[in-house]
Symmetry: C2
Subunit: 677 residues, 2 copies
């Protein structure tokens, strides 16, 4: 008979959060809490002690020197076996959450002893119990690795042995007995991986533009240098990511003309997503295609200068990764086997019968030379990373294998952990979630098609909770070059303001395609599809950004509010509040660190948004606030400061009247304040 210790009495059936059973990491950013909740059980009635730790995962060649975070978990549901606590990661990296539980022998003994004392047990019985406590204290002291704990426990043992009852209820003794030793019989959960990223992975404000339409002088083809020269416009609007459609050469074969017409006239620029070949052999044998820049846009040096100019304004540049080829892309010539072929030898272009997309050849990621193709894709990404790019917006990732993206993103992150990948997969939810699960940092969302109060409440409530909250970071875009939502066809500026207000306050990541958006371009293609008329995808546009009808000032104001108030950086604390009017939407957020209504800390304020979903008429109603969610003491009045109108109102209690006239403002964005009592 060996003297192996018995198996632990503790079992941990469930740990949350978790993604894909632990096969993929929980997504967080620095400062974003991990609210750990676990079911922890043992037989009998002993007291448990439960902790959760956050520890870095060793990289090969790296060190574990960084300290663990440790949190004691407390019961969260009145003794029904759920334990919870909060870990707040303070740096980016790959971590594991482990929940560990053990029997707190001292607390179990002390609880029994206290009950005997309270029940007035006879002295002889008490004496025996105290002696048992003394024996336990000595045993725990011997096991403790902590000198202070040993001293306290030995002192407690002596006291109990002499009949002194005070150690029974001494919290200090209890603390040392619980934490100062290597617990015997502890049970640890399987580790839950967590990927902590930099803040921009979650909170980002995107502006998309077509450089070719930003020439300093009208009529010319705009360049990267032109964009750099005008970066102040983007900065003044308050954006922190500048995203460019593909900057590569554009194919000439089957080039599309304005409004996606089948044939291009000479001079028509074509679609940036039909990636062709550079005419410049100076790019070398690996040049052309995805590793080159369209000659009319500029050079690699121009790109690097743009990166610097943007960075000076606090803006990161994002490039578009579109892994497809026009017929004159160098890969068609050099690697024809990377494409699907018909029996007659021709390459299969993309099609959706009867529609043909003859300007685009999809790549065959399962071809015989799949390893060569995958490597080429990775080299494309690394090429741009080496030129200073830290964000990629990926075109239609759902038409390329999951395994390819998982491998590529992991490969890039091994050397460049800060690179972010935005998934542009407007498709079914399971696919969108799988893409972010396997590596995409964030994803476009269904925001363009969520318009009514019910739709917005349902969709954002879903995004704010598990499983999405742990694996899917949304980005809300009121428009893109591909999407002019039906609601915006012929719509007034007030609706453009409203949609931006909603996107920018509901979602930590927001983006617009401009200047079409702020100039309120509401002309649809007239064919029943949610496309722009005279889409900038197929022609150079002349925009007058100084047009007095531009809603740029409103956007700038909202972006400034977004940036100043930390509450807008999260989705977890989103709460919808009841309003007795279907056209009024009311919701609040508080910062990750907890609700604050302290007027001395505006950045930490709870925020409350009341939006009028009717762009045409005044709407009024009574908001029934969940004051606890706001952090407001219901017994005292509080102030709501309208950050848009710069007015303050005093409210008291949950029911408060609001009225919004679209000609004045499309929504209130309140900072919530309450004086100290």
């Amino acid at each position: 008979m060996t003297s192996a210790p018995p198996p632990s009495r503790v079992v941990i059936p469930v740990v949350h959060p978790v993604v894909d059973g632990g096969r993929h990491p929980v997504k967080r950013v620095v400062g974003e809490p991990i609210d750990v909740e676990a079911v922890v059980l043992a037989d009998g009635h002993d007291e448990l002690h439960v902790v959760a730790s956050l520890r870095p995962v060793s990289e090969p060649g790296g060190t574990d020197a960084a300290p663990h975070l440790l949190a004691t978990l407390g019961p969260v549901n009145a003794g029904l076996d759920r334990w919870g606590g909060r870990l707040v990661p303070d740096r980016p990296g790959r971590f594991e959450v482990v929940v560990t539980g053990w029997i707190d022998e001292w607390a179990s003994w002390a609880s029994l002893a206290a009950r005997k004392l309270d029940a007035g047990a006879p002295p002889a019985e008490i004496e025996v119990e105290l002696a048992a406590g003394a024996e336990l204290a000595r045993r725990l002291a011997a096991r403790s690795t902590d000198r202070a704990a040993r001293d306290v426990l030995r002192a407690a043992a002596d006291a109990l042995a002499s009949g002194d009852r005070t150690p029974v209820r001494d919290a200090g003794v209890a603390g040392h007995a619980r934490t100062g030793l290597g617990p015997e019989g502890a049970m640890s959960s399987d580790p839950v991986p967590v990927h902590v990223e930099r803040e921009r992975a979650r909170f980002s404000t995107w502006y998309e533009l077509f450089p070719r339409s930003w020439a300093s002088e009208p009529g010319r083809h705009g360049t990267l240098a032109d964009v750099a020269a005008q970066i102040g416009y983007v900065a003044d609007l308050g954006f922190d990511v500048l995203y460019l459609p593909p900057i590569h050469p554009i194919g000439e074969a089957f080039r599309k003309g304005p409004d996606n017409s089948e044939t291009a006239a000479p001079g028509d620029p074509g679609s940036p997503w039909a990636i062709g070949n550079t005419a410049d052999p100076g790019d070398g044998p690996d040049g052309g295609g995805h590793r080159s820049i369209h000659p009319a846009l500029g050079t690699h040096a121009d790109l690097e200068r743009l990166v610097v100019a943007a960075a000076d304004e606090g803006i990161e540049l994002a490039l578009d990764l579109a892994f497809q080829c026009s017929p004159d892309h160098p890969w068609v010539r050099d690697h024809p086997d990377w494409f699907s072929h018909r029996p007659d030898g021709s390459i299969r272009y993309a099609e959706n019968p009867p529609k043909k997309y003859q300007d685009v050849y999809p790549l065959d990621f399962g071809c015989a030379d799949w390893q060569g193709l995958w490597a080429a894709g990775r080299e494309v990404v690394r090429h741009w990373v080496d030129h200073g790019i830290s964000i990629f917006r990926v075109d239609n990732p759902h038409t390329k294998p999951f395994a390819f993206w998982e491998w590529l993103i992991a490969d890039v992150h091994r050397t460049h952990p800060d690179v972010l990948f935005l998934s542009e997969a407007f498709t079914r939810p399971e696919i969108m979630h799988r893409l972010t699960t396997i590596g995409f940092t964030l994803s476009y969302s269904y925001f363009p098609w969520r318009r009514s109060k019910e739709e917005l409440e349902e969709y954002f409530t879903e995004l704010a909770r598990a499983p999405g909250a742990d694996r899917f970071r949304p980005s809300a875009w009121p428009n893109t070059p591909d999407i002019l939502a039906e609601q915006l066809w012929g719509a007034p500026p007030a609706l453009f303001e409203l949609r931006y207000l909603l996107a920018a306050t509901l979602s930590p990541s927001v983006g617009i395609y401009g200047p079409a958006y702020e100039l309120c371009d509401n002309a649809d293609a007239g064919n029943g599809k949610e496309e722009y008329a005279r889409s900038e995808k197929y022609e150079i546009k002349t925009w007058d950004r100084t047009d007095p009808g531009s809603i740029a000032p409103a956007i700038a104001e909202l972006n400034a509010i977004r940036h100043e108030h930390l509450a807008f950086r999260t989705l977890r604390t989103l709460r919808f509040h009841t309003v007795g009017n279907d056209r009024l939407l009311a919701f609040s957020k508080t910062p990750d660190a907890g609700p604050s209504v302290d007027p001395a800390r505006p950045a930490h304020a709870s925020v409350l948004v009341v939006a009028n979903l009717d762009p045409h008429g005044t709407q009024a109603g009574t908001v029934d606030l969940d004051l606890a969610a706001l952090g407001v003491d219901p017994a005292r009045p509080f102030q709501v400061h309208d950050l848009v109108a710069d007015r303050t109102f005093t409210w008291s209690g949950p029911s408060n009247y609001v009225e919004l006239r679209p000609t004045e403002q499309v929504g209130h964005v309140f900072r919530v304040l309450q004086d100290h009592p």
Copy 2:
């Protein structure tokens, strides 16, 4: 560059059902469907083919000769990536469910080709597409392991090559192209373990009695032989499990008297759960205690005769496993180290200050000789298994380590897979579920404290769905020797009938402690606790089972209905129906094999129960039936045959009036019938 194939394009993020992430098996019985549902994804727009297989897990030394079950999964949510299908295990054992998906190349090509044909593509384009189809058909034929498939595919290739379009829409070709080959690029999910048990693991009808109160002549101590002689009573009532409280010797030290009084008078029999020592040294050195039979009850031969007598009536015997000891149990003498001690050397009895349970010493399953203790516990179980016992009701398992039960049950099941273990853990839900997850076959439930319509609907709805449905089989007991629910204090026989009707129709497993139950003993202990007055736990009772007030006939009738109608063997198909009266509860069930309203197959009928929760007064109301759940064609009338009152009513449509007078019947139990059109 190797020629390794690329990773699969298919991913399977989710498979249901699953228990504990696959660490513990899904629970089923023979004939109980496994409705597999999986999320299966691939990039792009190709067609998928998804199957689920059930395959036996090899036992060491066993064979895999038994065939797999295989089911093709179909889309379950209108193209939103969920696939479902049904596997019905037809024998007990340990199995694994695996979901496998692959790209259906033929269906993908055929879909594209068909759309081109429908769109009227030019002949040249069609010709190229047909040639591609021919090439594909040849390639699939070469890969096929099925001769018939190869022939069909080659014929299709020839047809397509000659310009024949019919193979494009030929379902036969599609079928061979899909299933007759080893799929390339297939992805299989991690296997999900499934434990398929015999039917009684789920569907059981228990009767508990104290043999010592069943003497053939009043005033004597009843014996196992007396029970065997009166087994007909239990059989006539329609029970299939006869459960006896512990049959072991009862301790004399600190023996409790009637009504749990502190001291026993001479002749007081004590509690069967205070397991002591036999006075008969003939049981040998391992005898006494848990491996002996109370001398007043009989011998091992008597037990075996009782097992046979019960089996002749279709009844299985269940014994009580209570791993605790009275102070005079042989383990106290032979293994004092198996118990917790105080510093003064005395053994710790169970206590809940100020209450002391000095007749019971709990075992210390973590003591230094834990391996000896655990082995002794296993030997106790094997001892009774070797004497023909196939069911154990386990007393308070939640006060012994989970690891002990997991090990013990697995050990017994290795040689005796048919042994069932009922968990008597009236405690917190997570603990109850953990016990069944790690091995207990079924468990007592909260039924005694679910009385109102809302409580019953909520509780049984929860039990019928995941996760409970896959890991927790409930047993509903209106009473036990420990529990006379408050509702039954001073209650009329109608309430006893009602509670049995509810338990027996809502839950596949039901049990009563008799004859207290059928004699409607409603006298509580008068101390505010849900205990019987003059509890049979502490004294021999004289029951008159012929009392005309016995509700035995009603119980027998309900048990006969339960046994005849397969719908009562499941919980999965339970559906509550709306009734416009809070005192009327309406619910239906259909058999696992699917709803049937065919009058020619009464055993397969859908059943509908309408119960009056008010034992004192008539209640009436309109039931609003979900006819689809019943399997009824709403366009035609149908019949409901009241199995209790033996009357048939014709109903049509969902709304139907019911009225129940407790003096006549406490509830309708309808068989639902509909003639063929």
